[in-house]
Amino acid sequence: MAHGFQKTLPADLGAPPFVEVWKKRAYMVCGVFLVIAAILAILDYAAGQNPWDHVLRAWLLGVMVTFGFSVGGLALLMVQYCSGGKWGLLLRRPLEAMSRTLPLVFLYWIVIALAMPKLYMWANHGLVDRAFRLGQITSWQVEAIDHAINFKRPMLNPTMFVAVSGMCFAIWWLYMWKLNSWAMQREADSPQSTPYWIRKFENWSGPGIVVYSVTMTAAAIYWVMSLDPTWFSTVYGLLFLVGQGYAVLALSIITAISLSKGEPFKTILRQTEQHDLGKLTFAFVMLNIYLAFGQFLIIWSGNLPEEINWYLDRIRGHWGIIITLDFIFHWVIPFTLLLSRDIKRNKKRLTRVCQFMIFAVAFNQFWLIEPNFKDAARNLHFSWGILEYAAVPTAMIAFWVAYFCLQLRRRPLVQVNDPHLKEILEPEHAHA
């Protein structure tokens, strides 16, 4: 029988040299889009707007997407330590590389912390006054906002914002540091100690997933939901969490498939695991629409004045076009394409679907973020500034990708000291 046909790993398990090429390309994309962002800012300024407004909003979008890659990667790493499975062995090193980009995300976030008075009404009442002066909100709305800000003052104030976010970063940092350094220690250890390490990783990752959900919820509430202090939704953190899973799986598939053009992924990426990852991504596509629609259905059914305005801000005044497109991009297209077994097993096509999914995540964030600002609520209109949503996050993500490539090059891409390695080296078909 066929178990003698094991493939052997190549001698060099490091990332292939073309990762350097990706890095260079990422720097170039970053540079080009920075120039575009600057031109857009100048055009915005020439049209009589304050260019910083949209640059900072777009920056927040970039923070949320790259933060999703980084901390979402950490979360998926913990999930696979608990769940096991060959897909996990395949992705362990790329996911670790994603988690190690946390310092960059922290730097990105510092800009948001510094720009708090430009973004958050609870940090700067001048934003409310300006919107009222410009006739963007009524005196009734000012009253509602003031009531909400005063009521939530113990939570929504600059000190708490920095303290809670700092604590979240510290916790993620601890997990990132522990999981990454232990992975190397485990690799150096003897195979006999594998059960000890498996238990250790499990015992840290299990509670880690819970801690991650809590800290994620806090971060999503502080950074995005509090842009509109009047609104609240308990599923909000979970929505971001699922969105991270969605984006990270898509990014992982792209990474694994792109890496498989060279060793060592050429040897270890099998169609079976690619198919499994496609199925897992499909599950996240479903879970994402389930939560998003669930939130909408509950708020629509309740039709309460405290809650429904958040949706009306995002549906009326041409925002209906954006939410319809969002539904198509975020769910209809990935869902219908990932239904197909052939697409999930085809490297090129699956990569295309996953690239589109990452775009869809960013598009969804645009729909979440922009209508919080009173000049745009129920009033989708063109300005040069709104195009920053395409330019700034692209530059930020490109720079993030360059940093990610750097991290990928730091370590061998395959974990050797694992009992499951043998299974992943078996040929696709166990028989014949």
Binding site: L297, S301, H429, H431, A432
Partner: protein
């Protein structure tokens, strides 16, 4: 020697799935089409060897799911808009967000039932008689630990002596003639 009237085919019995896969692959490469394999559990490689990896179950499931969705959604629309146009919290009678959940449930229900019954229909279930059960070693081994390749008499290549000799070259435990 041409097939005798009343012969369904020749059945070769193998001890391991690997032997069956190799045999099926070779027979298919040699041009056999009226053939089938039988094993106690599904072996994907056998299906690949016979190039019958495509089936219409996904299509049946998709159509079933879409029909279920359409049926429930139009039923709800009919109930709320035409049959009982009630004013519920001042909403329009055609309030589609409320219709989604049952429509979704019906999509899943119909897709699931279509997959199950579609599979049975495509496998020609229920089949009360199959000549293979005339072979005693098939009855004993096919659901336990033996792997079978059957070359059917309907295939133009079939020749009672020649095909038996051909099957013997594949290293089977036995080759038996299966009567109707």
């Amino acid at each position: 020697m041409p097939a005798r009237e009343g012969t369904y085919g020749l059945l070769a019995e193998f001890d391991t799935p690997g032997d069956l896969v190799r045999a099926a692959r070779r027979a298919h490469e040699d041009g056999w089409r009226r053939m089938d394999c039988f094993s106690p559990y599904p072996i994907e490689e056998v299906a690949e060897a016979m190039e019958c990896t495509r089936n219409r179950v996904p299509l049946v499931t998709l159509v079933g799911g879409l029909l279920g969705c359409a049926a429930m959604f139009s039923f709800e629309t009919w109930v709320s808009v035409i049959a009982y146009p009630l004013n519920i919290a001042g909403r329009p009678t055609y309030s589609w967000p409320a219709f989604i959940v049952p429509a979704y449930e019906w999509t899943i229900l119909w897709a699931g039932l279509s997959a199950a019954f579609g599979l049975m229909a495509l496998c020609k279930f229920p089949s009360l008689y199959h000549p293979l059960f005339n072979a005693p070693n098939f009855r004993k081994g096919a659901t336990v630990d033996k792997f079978f390749l059957c070359l059917e008499a309907l295939d133009p290549r079939f020749d009672l002596e020649g095909t038996r000799a051909y099957l013997e070259t594949m290293g089977p435990l036995s080759v038996v003639e299966v009567p109707y």
